[in-house]
Amino acid sequence: MPTTETASVLSLRSATLSFGDRVLWKNLNLELRAGEFLAVLGPNGTGKTSLLKTILGQQRLTSGTIELLGAPVTRGSREIGYIPQQKMLEQGTPLRARDLVAFGINGHRWGLPIGGAALRAQVDEVLASVGATEFANTPVSTLSGGEQQRVRVGQAIAGSPRVLLCDEPLLSLDLHQQRAVSDLIDEKRRELTTAVVFVTHDVNPILGMVDRVLYLAGGMFRVGTPDEVLRSEVLSYMYDTPVEVIRSRGRIIVVGAPDGYGAHDHDQHHVGGH
């Protein structure tokens, strides 16, 4: 079924999510187009992960509608590629990098995990495209964080999804790996014209590739380009306290935000020289 490039992949209309009295976001309107890169930012507890869960059909909206590819969301979808946080697997878990990628292609199908030559070739191609050929047959439990996330990107794109959901995929990676993995995600979404929803507490590693930002704070939200949203006035209003957004050498530092966001960037000051 052919769809135009500008077709809306994900659409939220008057979407509200609240838990009891606590409103995470209210009347959120958002149309995500194919190939668009959306960063979801904000301090902890503002509903970034809940937004992902809503898209995945695991969390119902309090009111409003959410549609994926023109239909109400279901519990997960083959049109979704999902990149989770890097995590450690138990030693001996019988799973190699190539098996993880293969799950992205046929993990939903019944039967024994015996693939033919065609599957093998497809997995090899994906592994090569994310630079993981070298450790294709290495158990995932022994891969480094960066290697594991490369394989994760491969797994997520292997089924040519229309939307890529990324839940803090750079967390626990060093800066070099953060750059490599985010470049890879950017490259793949351009190749496949896949829309990206990228949840992160630090926008800097992806600043150059973000089309729009959804900033969640204080029960409010702002949507727009990074230049429109990541400004002192906007964030001060949302946080209801003076916040300063400083741009320095292509990086954005938020000073004075009540929660972890500003403090986190403070930690990364030493990273300036590159």
Partner: protein, 292 residues
């Protein structure tokens, strides 16, 4: 001392005995296949403790059946299915699961002991349920055990791929539209059946040696998705068949032999596994420093 050795390892009239228990040996080998295969998923899904919990309720079911003159295999199957369902539905999160198992286990064991105490029949049958009794299983029951085993093996083969996906990578599997909850419940049913048949062989107290130890041993020496279940099956079959053969002469329960063999295999695998290079793991264990 010689008496004890004579009882432990007695090979007089071995040939004749072997013919008598031929069917038990085949059934034992089949159960080895079941235990070895399902054990791989028990390990991946972090369910060893659940296996123990299920086996105690299975024991209660079996002893109730013994008391009321019903089919023991069916009784033990019902017991373990109830336990597996309870653990599967109430214990989605690991912490809840552990406490539910800890609550169920003594209750099941207590019930079982009560039924056995009330049972007027031969005491050999009583202890068989706790410590294993394959040689005394009659042909009709043997047929039932084989049927259940085949069901479990076929069930596992059908759901192998989505089950692996859901076991090692639940979040992604869910995002891709897999019904992880249904898969997990289906697996608990298969696990319940596997426990029910294992109890007939090694007894309720020692089921772990069949459903966990072989897979745990295999995972110490390999991480290949093909080699892990294969080795696990080999270890389980060697443990059971070896146990039956060694126990035969002395007329002792087979479980001490089965558990000892399976334990020794595990020890060897641990030693072999520890000698493998570990550099790759060190880089993977880099601490998280980015959060303030």
């Amino acid at each position: 001392m010689n008496d004890i050795w004579g009882t432990l390892f007695n090979f007089d009239n071995y040939g004749e005995l072997l013919v008598l228990v031929q069917n038990s040996i085949y059934a034992g080998a089949l159960l080895g296949v079941v235990g070895g295969l399902i054990g791989v998923f028990v390990m991946q899904r972090d369910l060893p403790f659940a296996v123990h919990g299920i086996s105690e309720l299975s024991f209660a079911g079996a002893s109730a059946a013994l008391l009321f003159g019903a089919n023991v295999v069916i009784g033990s199957m019902l017991g373990s299915l109830v336990a597996a369902m309870l653990i599967g539905i109430l214990g989605v999160r690991a912490r809840d699961r552990n406490s539910i198992i800890a609550v169920l286990m003594p209750f099941g064991l207590g019930l079982g002991i009560l039924f056995l105490a009330l049972y007027p029949g031969r005491s050999a049958n009583k202890f068989g349920l706790l410590t294993g009794q394959i040689v005394s299983v009659d042909n009709e029951q043997l047929g039932l055990l084989v049927t259940i085993s085949v069901v479990v093996i076929i069930g596992l083969m059908i759901m192998w791929r989505p089950l692996s996906f859901a076991s090692v990578d639940a979040d992604v599997a869910r995002a891709r539209g897999l019904n992880v909850t249904a898969i997990s419940i289906a697996f608990m049913v298969l696990l319940g059946l596997a426990v029910a048949v294992s109890i007939q062989i090694v007894g309720a107290l020692l089921v772990l040696s069949l459903l966990v130890t072989p897979a745990a041993a295999a995972m110490r020496v390999t991480a290949s998705p093909l080699l892990t279940p294969l080795l696990s099956v080999v270890f389980a079959v060697v443990s059971i068949v070896g146990g039956i053969l060694l126990a035969l002469g002395g007329g002792l329960p087979i479980s001490p032999f089965v558990t000892t063999i399976s334990f020794l295999i595990y020890v060897v695998c641990r030693i072999v596994g520890a000698r493998k290079p570990r550099q790759a793991r060190l880089t993977a264990g880099r601490p998280i420093t980015l959060r303030s």
